[in-house]
């Protein structure tokens, strides 16, 4: 991994409700830090240049690419990963993804669910085209996307209109 003389910096942040105060290597991405140092492997590392969306995490309530933010930048932030996202939308989406077979290998699923939850929080009644647009930055190589859109629409159908 990184050499022993790797420069680090001190950060203090909250991850899934737990306060963490630690040293992080300067060039470690947020998602690598969450996986390798915090032990939260639910966020996945795919392309490492912001294309695939597998690394999505929430930082201060917003979904971001975990591979395009440095761990040192999480200082002072509230970070949520798929393991800690227990809001009703996320739980409903997890259930709907299961029932609609909206995953096969599951690599993209955490990122998909966090992104879909953000969409439904902002727009509870999207069209299928709007769901596809909102998930256009999340790659799935298994499903062909159809059941993923089905699952998001199914959760949308049980939400009260905004």
């Amino acid at each position: 991994m990184l050499p022993p003389d790797e420069p680090t910096a001190e950060i203090a942040c909250t991850v899934n409700g737990e306060a963490i105060h630690t040293q992080v290597p300067l060039r470690r991405s947020l998602v690598d830090w969450l996986r390798h140092d915090v032990g939260l492997t639910g966020s996945h590392v795919g392309c490492e240049h912001g294309v695939c969306g597998a690394c999505h995490v929430r930082v201060d309530g917003q979904v971001v690419r975990g591979c395009l933010m440095l761990a040192v930048q999480a200082d002072g932030a509230t970070v949520e990963t798929i393991e800690g996202a227990r809001d009703p939308l996320t739980l409903a989406l997890q259930d709907a993804f299961f029932h609609h077979a909206a995953l096969q290998c599951g690599f993209c699923t955490p990122g998909m669910i966090l992104q879909a939850a953000e969409l439904l929080a902002q727009h509870p009644a999207p069209t299928r085209a709007e769901v596809r647009e909102a998930l256009s930055g999340n790659y799935c190589r298994c499903t062909g996307y159809q059941p993923i859109v089905d699952a998001v629409m199914a959760v949308s159908a049980i939400l009260p209109a905004k």
């Binding site: 490492e48 240049h49 969306g53 979904v63 690419r65 395009l68 930055g137």
Partner: protein, 276 residues
């Protein structure tokens, strides 16, 4: 795919940030949605990063007929801003085409303008909206740069290495002006194969392309034809654009797409304009 080593500083004040930028081989880290991929791919290997995310540069304000958007304003914030919708309705049209939701949550106006990617939507918007860009350095203080003098070509701007872009100032939309931003991409959010920002007013037009030429600029010949209401002449004028050439998208095809977009944009706002 990990970045090479770098030093990192996160200044709390603008003065501190500008002092750090005076050092050689220093890159500004704003949203990081282009810089971090370039560093992960090791296309970029800056010796030090100055993370400006703690600076108070994200404000969006409207006053005295001028819309001011701070360099750190995130795309998602600009896209959702009622002030922007009111004073610069071109920008929400364009920002809806910029990348994907998670990238718009982090990416910044200043980052996009400072990078000057040929396919980026926001430089074309700044040109079509006749924006003034305000930059600062420790040695020379603030200066104001017209958008038409800011973009110098492929990934090249008027910014000096020690300068930081602070904000864009846009004249608020005037009565009688209409705006269209159109783009063609292989998938929503992908880099533009061709994009077009058009502002059409009474007897006047401002037009800029993205994804077509290596450097973004106003298109004066097409603008003059549009100002005279002559769409065919404007479309013909775009035929002289010096388009980028690549195996998957030849120059002639980019020019053709730009011409198609101009016809669509004019049909969208020009006809309504003529009727008004």
């Amino acid at each position: 795919m990990k970045p090479a080593r770098f030093d990192y500083a996160r200044p709390a004040t603008l003065a501190e940030a500008l002092a750090l930028l005076a050092k050689p081989d220093t890159a500004v880290l704003a949203g990081g949605q282009s810089l971090m991929p370039m560093m992960n791919l090791r296309v970029a290997r800056p010796a030090r990063l100055v993370d400006i995310n703690r600076l108070p540069l994200g404000e969006i304000a409207l006053g005295n007929g001028v819309l001011r958007i701070g360099a750190l304003a995130r795309h998602a914030a600009v896209l959702a801003s009622p002030l922007v919708a009111q004073a610069a309705p071109l920008l929400p049209q364009a920002l809806a085409q910029v990348a994907h939701a998670a990238i718009r949550n982090r990416g910044t106006l200043g980052g996009s303008l400072s990078l000057a990617d040929p396919a980026a939507e926001l430089p074309a918007c700044m040109l079509a909206l006749d924006a003034t860009l305000v930059a600062a350095s420790a040695a020379r203080g603030e200066r104001r740069i017209a958008a038409s003098a800011f973009f110098h070509g492929l990934y090249s701007t008027a910014l000096e290495p020690d300068e930081l872009l602070l904000r864009a100032e846009l004249p608020a939309a005037a009565p009688g002006w209409r705006y269209a931003f159109l783009e063609l991409a292989r998938r929503h959010g992908d880099f533009a194969m061709a994009g077009l920002a058009l502002a059409l007013g009474p007897g006047a037009a401002r037009l800029a392309l993205c994804g077509v030429e290596a450097g973004q600029r106003r298109q004066p010949a097409a603008e003059a034809a549009l100002a005279a209401g002559d769409l065919p002449a404007a479309i013909a004028a775009l035929g002289t654009a010096e388009a980028m050439d690549s195996p998957d998208l030849p120059a002639a095809q980019r020019v053709h797409l730009a011409q198609v977009l101009l016809r669509r944009a004019f049909q969208q706002i020009g006809a309504a304009h003529a009727a008004a």
